[in-house]
Symmetry: C2
Subunit: 360 residues, 2 copies
């Protein structure tokens, strides 16, 4: 695919030396490209350059590509500035596309707008800032590329080149469709986690004492930065409200089914949940292969988990996912290994023969 | 604690040779106790006895303790039958306590009722049936013990003995308070996962293609048996509806904040979600220790994950939790290791020195 795309030769200018921007910069430096950095904070630029992510931008730089990686509320302004300041292709990596695009389109000429191609890497970590950056951040992740209708095809190609060089999989999408997509597979799950976690904040301790893996899984993503999420949700308010409206209608139907003891209706709702989990793509983008969980008792100190994985590796069964259950009361952990369904019995028998306490 | 409790000497009768019942039976057999089994399905009894979980019950058995482990809708009837048929202490292991208790109390004398002490092990697996059973199922798990006001203290003590012998941590709770607790930390999260997953079932493929770890975590528990959950939710309808009503009010406030661009209100709601995640107990029941995630690129085939854990074990940093990210497009997995915050840098440096591609 790289043969068909315009070559990314640099210089690359990164505006916003945070987690995403610095990570992109590190990829480009690793490719031997010239990278120049801008950030409202001189400290961030110093840190990023110290990590080998490039050098501070000067007035005479003429970048081939500008990557805008600033907080959501600052994106449109930074894109307009880059389009006016340079003749480069400009992309931004924000998680919402339509609103910034409209704001940019209102402030630049059509000729300048043709050089702007928004995009969105589905990657990140709990941490932020340049110290958290890595050239491996985008490995294997989807990265949406969302050109407007009048974008220059060569500009679109250059952005896709960047995506491929970062090790990510470019997915071409209409900006508004992208916003509906992230509302569904990112913003809605986040808000559901927030609403459930909100019921835990002031809960009696004896309620919380019964917590298991389920509530931990559901609420995990709610431990994110509120200020950042406020910006994201406000920038995608339309698509988010549409989905929340659909969920509220589903919630009303659920409450009606429970209070009327309408068993068939309730089973329908629960079965739709089943179907939804099966719809999520599995590894490597294929359909989800049926998996089975194998549970192993693991004493809770360093080395034991390694021993388990060492044995699993020797046995030769690929581990699709892992969950370590949290066990109040005893220092024994129940580790859940998710494996392909047809391999589970083999793994169980082999682990048992090596002295592990297992159960199905 | 075992010294203060009545001794569990057997025989133990298990009614319902499914996952939970057979697991309890296996624990008791391992203690050298006599165990007798009943099940509506002769096949289940044959399988359980074949696993070494006991023998088929006869009319002349006189159990010390009866453990009722039948599906939710059958619990009350089975408890009443056991109280009439034997002079044993009777417990059930269902996930909702008040409704079965009321149904039992209506059908037995106060003297008989004194021998009934409901309980609920917070344990299980995706699978069901006797073949999935294991004596390790309850290791370190919380197990709620929910006596009614007029239960015989010796009966309560005997049930707590069983819990301790199963390796679980007994938590004494009022039955109605238990039902409110599980509504909050189990049933509500489950329904939130179902509602989010319900929005994925008919979603466009390009939406689903952007899926990341967040939506997988939130919806994971929605892949459960709808018929079982229908019984559970109907048995706990009151507490579930109360909580769903609170969530619906929170959802309305959230939608109002987003549509009115009321940033401060929105941040409040998001921050309450933060606080909720911090309220969940950490390992071994203590307060959650601050953790940090360390990310490592892992080629996706057997042995690589083992090599990573082998190295982590040698480095001597305890892994609190693990997540294996699913990566469409490239056969490289990003594995997330959750470790105690103060140990993260050490682990990162040590992994990097062993050639791993890491990021923060």
């Amino acid at each position: 695919m790289t043969d068909d795309l315009p070559a990314l030769t640099g210089p690359v200018e990164v505006v916003g030396a945070g987690l995403i921007g610095t990570s992109v910069a590190l990829v480009c430096r690793r490719l031997g490209l010239e990278v120049v950095l801008r950030d409202a904070s001189a400290e961030n630029v110093r840190t990023a350059t110290g990590l080998g992510a490039g050098r501070s931008a000067t007035a005479t730089d003429r970048p081939q590509l500008v990557v805008v990686a600033v907080p959501p509320a600052a994106i449109a302004g930074a894109v307009v500035d880059a389009l006016h300041r340079t003749d480069a292709v400009v992309t931004d990596v924000g998680s919402v596309k339509s609103a910034p695009l409209a704001a940019v389109a209102a402030r630049v000429s059509p000729a300048d707008l043709a050089r702007y191609v928004g995009s969105h890497p589905m990657a990140g970590s709990e941490r932020s800032g340049p110290l958290a950056a890595s050239a491996a951040l985008f490995d294997g992740r989807p990265w949406a590329v969302t050109p407007h209708a009048d974008a220059d095809p060569a500009a679109v190609g250059l952005v896709e080149s960047l995506v491929v060089e970062c090790g990510a999989a470019p997915l071409r999408m209409d900006p508004a469709e992208h916003d509906r997509a992230v509302a569904r597979i990112s913003h809605l799950p986040h808000l559901a986690a927030v609403l459930v976690a909100g019921r835990l904040a002031a809960a009696p301790a004896e309620h919380l004492a019964l917590s298991g893996q389920g509530v931990r899984d559901v609420t995990r993503v709610a431990a994110s930065d509120p200020a950042l999420w406020q910006q994201i949700l406000e920038a995608n308010a339309g698509a988010v409200l549409d989905l929340l409206g659909e969920v509220r209608a589903d919630l009303d139907a659920l409450m009606a089914a429970v209070s009327a003891d309408a068993g068939a209706d309730l089973v329908d709702i629960l079965a739709r949940g089943n179907a939804g989990t099966a719809a999520i793509p599995g590894k490597h983008g294929g359909p989800a292969r049926p998996t089975r969980s194998v549970f192993v008792s693991v004493p809770d100190h360093p080395g034991e988990l390694a021993r388990l994985f060492g044995d699993a590796g020797e046995i030769g069964v690929n581990i699709e996912d892992v969950h370590i259950d949290h066990d109040p009361g005893r220092p024994v952990g129940l580790t859940e290994l998710v494996v392909e369904k047809g391999r589970a019995e083999h793994l169980l028998a082999a682990l048992e023969s090596r002295g592990w306490t297992t159960h199905r």
